[in-house]
Amino acid sequence: MAASTIAIPQKVALTERPDFRVIGQIVEPGARVLDLGCGEGELLAWLMENKGVLARGVEISASQVRKAISRGVSAYQGDIDEGLADYPDRAFDYVILSQTLQETRSPLQVLKEMLRVGRRAIVSFPNFGHWTVRRAMLFTGQAPKTKLFPYDWYNSPNIHFLSIRDFEGLCAESSFPIAERYFLAGSSRITFAPNLLAQTAVFLLG
């Protein structure tokens, strides 16, 4: 519930979110999809429209759930950290956690649950290892405030900070099978020095 007490800027539209485009490519038509932290349901609405998926969303913010429902998305207001426990095993083909991992209280628990509830998990997050973040920290000596992490430390929804290397480390440690990695600089996919150059990472697990 911690995140709900903080003023979070509205999530940006689908076209401004390169990770959405990657997710849109991964998910095959007709799949059963659960989006954790679905916001106003932009991604799910797009997947319903373009991929004919069976879509469900969870979002903690009442105003965003309202928007998602009015968009025709079956979203419900709830806490990701608690909500997954109700679902049976393999209830979905894909469980998506898009730019939300860093906002959950127990990321490891959430990832385990995603892989129980879904055949596959899609996780995207902003890369804290990006050179702009490193530079900001180095030169200011303050909690970095960049384009990628635009919040002041005291009102940020982000409660965990992770780099691509951190995430890969956790996957190795917890034996989460990584099926595919997508590293994005802007909207283009890169392969060279991703932990330094990628702003966003999208992992397909399972």
């Binding site: 469900r56 009442a62 309202r66 429902i69 025709g72 979203a75 419900y76 109700d86 679902y87």
Partner: protein
């Protein structure tokens, strides 16, 4: 939109109690046009003291319907797109057969010889009406409070007949607190000497008892905050206390007014029967296993779409009761949308605080109609 109440008559209805009512009449209104493939019908189910007049201006009294802010041209239940039906519940006193109706066997009102009815009986009669209107599947059944119980009962009893349901500010079974408030209302009525074991139709109705019952009801429909805002400690047409037991406070005046007004439109025996139906309401028939209730054949989960709505300040039907429904449907991987809408109006919110409710109901119906069309 001027509307007129219509009536349908059926030979008999078999009730949960084992009794049969014969004949039975149901009052209903419709708004909008049924489309050629009969796929745009929505049934609105009313709360405890509601009636068939949900929308428009009544032909006789010129009164607006009880959910006129939600039903009509361009509203949440858009009558340009949907064919909306609302009927008075079984056991009611506004056109549908109830304890105040004449028992053909005796030529006198049933009074307490009327059989005890349940929410499922109310739904059974609605189903008969829907069939008579030539509709084999409803796009949606929607209602708040006791109307929400009927919507849930539809999803469980007749899942093949409902594409979606919108239970609002409601519960899957009446709780001890809800039963307790109903019992206070019933005792107030039965303690009034004018009640006379229910035999008052030839004389004076138990106006004082019924009025007190309604006053208690009204308190439960509001919230501490809405009462503070609406009345505070303001005095009624006086500068200082009267030092007597007349009306001092604005809130006293309001409750008395609502109580008295209610007596002229509601039958005390219907109050007893309908509150009993609410108290008996339990989708699981006492097992407490809600997941089983939502499975069509005990295995396959119900495929009806759900939009569950609760209100943050509703303490009569608190949000946790809606959330229990949501959790179970999630466990069944059902198609569920849920929102706990922010409102200060307490239980009454679904009737008065409709801006956000409109937004989500509209979107939900829209997508339901789209899915129905694609199927």
């Amino acid at each position: 939109m001027v509307v007129e109440t219509q009536y349908a008559r059926f030979e008999s209805i078999a009730l949960d109690s084992g009794a049969t009512l014969s004949p039975v009449e149901i009052a209903f209104e419709t708004y909008g046009q049924l489309n050629p493939d009969r796929s745009n019908a929505i049934l609105i189910t009313h709360a405890f003291t509601g009636d068939a007049h949900a929308a428009g201006i009544s032909h006789d009294g010129g009164k607006p319907g009880w959910w006129d802010n939600m039903i009509g041209h361009g509203k949440a239940f858009d009558t340009e797109r949907y064919f909306v039906i609302c009927s008075n519940v079984l056991g009611g006193c506004q056109g549908t057969t109830g304890p105040g109706s004449i028992n053909p066997a005796t030529g006198r009102p049933y009074a307490m010889s009327f059989p005890v009815i349940t929410i499922r009986d109310m739904v059974r009669l609605q189903r008969m009406l829907v069939a008579k209107l030539g509709i084999s599947q409803l796009l949606c059944v929607a209602g708040g409070s006791m109307g929400g119980m009927q919507a849930l009962e539809w999803a469980v009893s007749h899942p093949e007949m409902v594409r979606s349901v919108i239970p609002i500010a409601t519960t899957w079974r009446h709780s001890a607190q809800q039963i307790a408030f109903n019992e206070v209302g019933r005792q107030a009525i039965m303690a009034d000497p004018d009640w006379n074991q229910g035999e008052y139709y030839d004389s004076k109705p138990p106006a004082r008892g019924l009025s007190v019952a309604r006053m208690v009801g009204h308190i439960t429909y509001m919230s501490d905050e809405s009462m503070r805002e609406k009345f505070g400690r303001r005095l009624r047409e006086k500068e200082k206390f009267g030092f007597d037991f007349g009306v001092d406070f604005e809130v006293e005046s309001y409750l008395r007014y609502r109580g008295n007004q209610f007596v002229s439109r509601f039958d005390a025996n219907s109050y007893l029967y309908i509150t009993k139906a609410e108290d008996y309401f339990d989708l699981t028939n006492g097992t407490g296993r809600l997941a089983e209730a939502f499975r069509l054949d005990g295995i396959t989960p119900v495929d009806t779409r759900f939009l569950v709505i609760s209100f943050t300040s509703d303490w009569l039907y608190p949000s946790y009761q809606s959330q229990e429904i949501v959790r179970v449907l999630r466990r069944l991987n059902g198609d569920i949308a849920y929102c706990d809408l922010q409102s200060n109006y307490g239980h009454d919110a679904f009737l008065v605080d409709v801006a956000e409710q409109t937004e989500i109901v509209r979107g939900f119906l829209n997508s339901t109609a789209r899915i129905a069309k694609a199927a």
